[in-house]
């Protein structure tokens, strides 16, 4: 480019660059530090470590407490994701493809859990759960987490459905398909990549959830984030760094898969 920049312009772009780099460092350095620390062989969290090794990882995999919390997280997050998809996908189709009254309100309700402050939602849910006898049950946590995951299903699936012409279903019906067959064979078939991506997002959301479980779990349902939260309260165990590293790797891979699937649905 041959456009000459003035001195203040160059100064501004220099400052802009510094801010960008600072923001990126601020976000990445703690994460990188945790990964580095997870390979320390120290008994306490100290930087820089003097001994290196896989001590934290062997401690983690050797602890039945931590392993059972991982198991609980899967047992909670998987059904929660499936419930969110089972509720979200039909809701999106109803919103986009029918003459439903009050659509704008329903659309906002669909993404409300995203906007609502988590603690406020947790308190409200807790009082309701006390009456329903759901406090401290896995079912209670699953339902709470599925509501929290619903907005992701909502957003991902409706964005994809908007790109699928409603005429496709009509043409399938005129070609001899029943309404059910046209919906499943055409619309849902074309939505499949988006639904897969939404399931992953919902799963990750439920898997990482640490606020609701503190309220509605009633101390009996110990998911991985809950276990981490509890352990940090009693002092920082170095084993946490190994959990954090694995968690980052796991969710990172899942999110990568989700974006790939969503790209596939764009065609």
């Amino acid at each position: 480019m041959s456009i000459q920049r003035t001195v203040p312009e160059r100064a501004i772009s220099g400052v802009e660059m510094v801010i960008k780099v600072a923001v990126i460092l601020f976000m990445l350095v703690p994460a990188a530090l945790v990964v580095v620390l997870s390979f320390s062989a120290e008994k306490n969290v100290a930087f820089p470590p003097t001994h290196w090794g896989f001590k934290q990882y062997s401690d983690l995999f050797g602890s039945s407490y931590w392993m059972s919390s991982v198991g609980t997280s899967f047992v909670i997050a998987l059904p929660a994701a499936l419930v969110a998809v089972a509720v979200g996908v039909p809701a999106v189709i109803a919103l986009e493809r029918t003459r439903l009254p009050g659509k704008p309100v329903l659309r906002i309700l669909g993404i409300a859990p995203l906007i609502l402050p988590g603690v406020a939602y947790a308190v409200a849910l807790y009082t309701f759960y006390v009456d329903a006898g759901l406090v401290g049950t896995r079912l209670g946590v699953i339902l709470a987490d599925s509501m929290l995951s619903l907005p992701f299903v909502f957003l991902v699936v409706s964005a994809s459905l908007k790109r699928i012409s409603a005429d496709l279903e009509l043409v399938a019906m005129s070609l001899g398909a029943t309404r059910l067959r046209a919906t499943f064979g055409i619309t849902l078939r074309l939505l499949a990549p988006a639904i897969a991506a939404a399931t992953i997002l919902a799963f990750v959301t439920a898997f990482d959830e640490a606020v609701l479980v503190n309220f509605v779990g009633g101390g009996q349902v110990i998911t991985l984030p809950k276990a981490i939260y509890d352990s940090v309260r009693t002092g920082l165990q170095p084993l946490i760094t190994a959990i954090a590293t694995l968690l980052m790797l796991f969710t990172g891979l899942l999110m990568f898969g989700a974006t790939r699937w969503r790209k596939g649905s764009a065609d």
Binding site: S165, D167, L168, L170, V171, A172, M173, S174, L175, G176, A177, T178, R179, R181, I186, R189, L190, D267
Partner: protein
Amino acid sequence: MSSTGTTQAQDRPQVAADEPRVKLDLRSVVKTFGEVEAVKNISLAVEEGLFLTILGPSGSGKTTLLRMIAGFMPVTSGSIWLGGVDISSLPPGKREIGMVFQNYALFPHMTARDNILYPLRMRKWSKERQKARTEEVLALVGMEHLGDRFPRQLSGGQQQRIALARSLSFMPNLLLMDEPLGALDRELRVRMAGELRRLHEELGNTVLYVTHDREEALTLSDRIAVMRDGDVESVGRPQDLFARPETAFVASFFGGHNIVPCSSVSDVQAGTVRVSCLGLDLTVPASTRLDVSQPVSLAVPGDALELADASAARDCIAASVHSAVYMGNHIHVACDVGIDDVPQLRMDLPGGRAMPPPAGSRVALRIDAQMVTAVNKS
């Protein structure tokens, strides 16, 4: 049913040639959305093997009518008969109607061939019959070499051919087309229109075609139904609608004629009236629906006007040229006549080597009274 398209015509019950069979029969069809009457009591019969175009501006109810025939929305009242059967309450898939959409509506996750196979699979045809018929319709639209492509790998025109092949593959009783050429560029549109006409003549099927483009309607149709505000204003052969429009709307929207108000009407004879118009007294043919108690206008086609010698002012209209555009085989001229309530007159002069008259020049126009039609103003 036979598996070949060309024998389709022979499959139809034989009827006497002088007694055309009605294929599609709309009986007092009404569609209302809340307070709005989108389709007002339409009755229309389409004879077997005819290509009928529903022509109307946007919002005239033509697409609503088409969607009711296809079965995508229920009729509010009235009934739709196809081949002597009341199909009003049948689901779309049981109506045996092929439909082509403006945006092609090909299934993006299937190849062209699989798109064409879809209706045959739904009908559980035998594998051999499915394959034979698919290759046959692919050849019919000249796409046999592109059957394995996905829709996104095909051009707009190619996609439309596949959509057409798909809607013909199961040998429907009726083919509906909703502005199928609307998304194509002009040159391709003209070529595809020619091909649609050739296909129709080859297959002899009954076609209902919806468009707002009068050129498409002119080139394709055996019959044209002009729609306006949810009603069919006029039905007829393109030639009749063009030469003897029944209403001012048909004359201007379909024919592109000038609509010139008349100041007095008298001497109504069989088929003709005497009118005062543009400062002239003319005896002109009248629309069969003319009501002389209502305001009367003349529908003047662009080629009913010609330039006269400036000296021959008698029986001529004095005008000044507003603009003149050379179009090759004709010259399109717009003239101001300087009479209140009379719009600019648009006329087509022979082109070729002729020079367009300069803008602002004074001219005398001669009108061919036999080519104009007296119609009601609205």
